[in-house]
Amino acid sequence: MGELIYNIANIFVSDDKAKWFVTELYNNFIVDNRWSWLLKGLGITIRLTVFAFIFGLLLGLIIAVIRVTYDKRVDTPKQSVSQKAGRFILGILNAICKLYLNIIQGTPTIVQIMIIYFVILADSTNKVGVATLGFTINSSAYVAEIIRGGINGVDKGQMEAGRSLGFGYIPTMIYVVIPQALRSALPALCNELVVLLKETSVASMVALQDLLAAALLIKSRTYSAFFPLIAAALIYFVIVSILRNFSARLERRLNSGER
């Protein structure tokens, strides 16, 4: 198989540089089926990105709703005991959320991942699970702020209309406000997905076999950095381009269609 490619290459390119190129290509990707390492790594990268994004979205949504609810609270003169207790709990939850956002946004992703991996969950054997948790926490902080902006952008008449029909605060949020908030936040959320995809490459630092780690593994076998790293970069680039394209189309559709 290797000889065949070499012979074919010899027919087209005869100078040494071209031969070197083909040999490197061969050593880095064909020997031991090394291309499949990249593919496996890509699989882990995508899995990590997708799950961290979904969980981050849910967590971010909850944080955003707590923050918005706290910011828009009105102090009424007459409050029942349960309302007072609710206010108190809301205040505590809001303080926790704010602290959480400050810490996550104020520290580097790689440090967060390492702390979770080497300190908090050092005993866990489920590497992908731990990394997913780490990126979920990281992403949720950014998603929360995006969604909070989306919720604040929804006309306050929408909440009033829902409440006047007899819906409670949370049901009105779920049926009326959040769908509209997510819709307007969609471009920013797509961007966060792209950022997250690229950021998962940090996982290679905690011995997770993601796309970048696969490239580094090839490099350690072949002692050539150029081909595996460029290959990894190309794969990231193609996937990001696809996401960007998808996001741009989505945005166009939302802008042109009924809003």
């Binding site: 009424t76 929408q158 009033e160 007899g166 769908p179 009924e258």
Partner: protein, 247 residues
């Protein structure tokens, strides 16, 4: 409920937004079954605040509102349950833009009144036909004109089968030529003895269908009377002055 008890009893209602003048200053009023109460007054007079306090969209600083004998300002009572019976129509329509018209009309009855989809859609369709918009059931709000949106908003409130309808300047955001179609729907409701509280600048409507007209200024009810007396024999100078300007 007893025959003579008011549907809505407003007691010492006060709302303080922290401005120089109280938005509502110790307002008392009773609204009885089948009445069409029209509230007029200059802007900033507190008429919208008064209406919005009736279903507690605005939380009063002080005072009580009894709806069907229950004090809804008491936090112990389940406000959401009482609001179902108070339909509200807004100046800006506030239809849900991400739902079809049919979904706008059926989400309340289905989720809150636990009606089946068929039941809720049947009722919605009947009401849509009544306002002449049956063919728009599958449209989205943004595909409709202002007048159509407001008629849908009225139908949305009616789908909950309310005991009273509250209108907050329902025609103020409309092009002049669309005002008529909305007022027509409101008039037909009045003819069916729906209890209505209407904040409006439409003096013709007040005169034609109102059973009582209230004039508000600086958070107080300055004058109230039957439409004929109100417009033909205004008592206070302030009301005379106001009517001179708007009529």
């Amino acid at each position: 409920m007893k025959g003579n008890e008011p549907l809505i009893k407003v007691e010492n209602l006060t709302k303080d937004f922290g401005n120089a003048v109280l938005a509502l200053d110790n307002v008392n009023n009773n609204i009885y079954n089948g009445e069409v109460v029209v509230v007029i007054g200059p802007s900033g007079s507190g008429k919208s605040t008064f209406l919005r306090c009736l279903n507690l969209l605005e939380v009063p600083t002080d005072g009580h509102i009894y709806f069907e004998g229950v004090d809804i300002t008491d936090p112990k009572n389940n406000l959401n349950k009482h609001r179902r019976k108070m339909g509200m129509v807004f100046q800006q329509f506030n239809l849900f833009p991400h739902m079809t018209i049919m979904r706008n009309l059926t989400i309340g009855p289905m989720k809150l009144l636990k009606k089946s989809k068929e039941e809720a859609e049947k009722k919605a369709m009947e009401l849509l036909e009544r306002v002449g918009l049956a063919d728009r059931a599958n449209s989205y709000p943004n595909q409709l004109s202002g007048g159509q949106k407001q008629r849908i908003a009225i139908v949305r409130a009616l789908c909950m089968e309310p005991d009273v309808m509250l209108f907050d300047e329902p025609t103020s955001a409309l092009d002049p030529e669309m005002v008529g179609e909305v007022l027509d729907v409101m008039k037909s409701l009045a003819r069916e003895n729906m209890t209505m509280v209407v904040v409006t600048h439409e003096m013709g409507f007040a005169r034609e269908v109102g059973s009582r007209v209230i004039f508000m200024e600086n958070g107080k009810i300055l004058e109230e009377n039957t439409p004929d007396e109100f417009f033909d024999n205004p008592k206070s100078e302030r009301l005379k002055n106001f009517l001179d300007k708007v009529l």
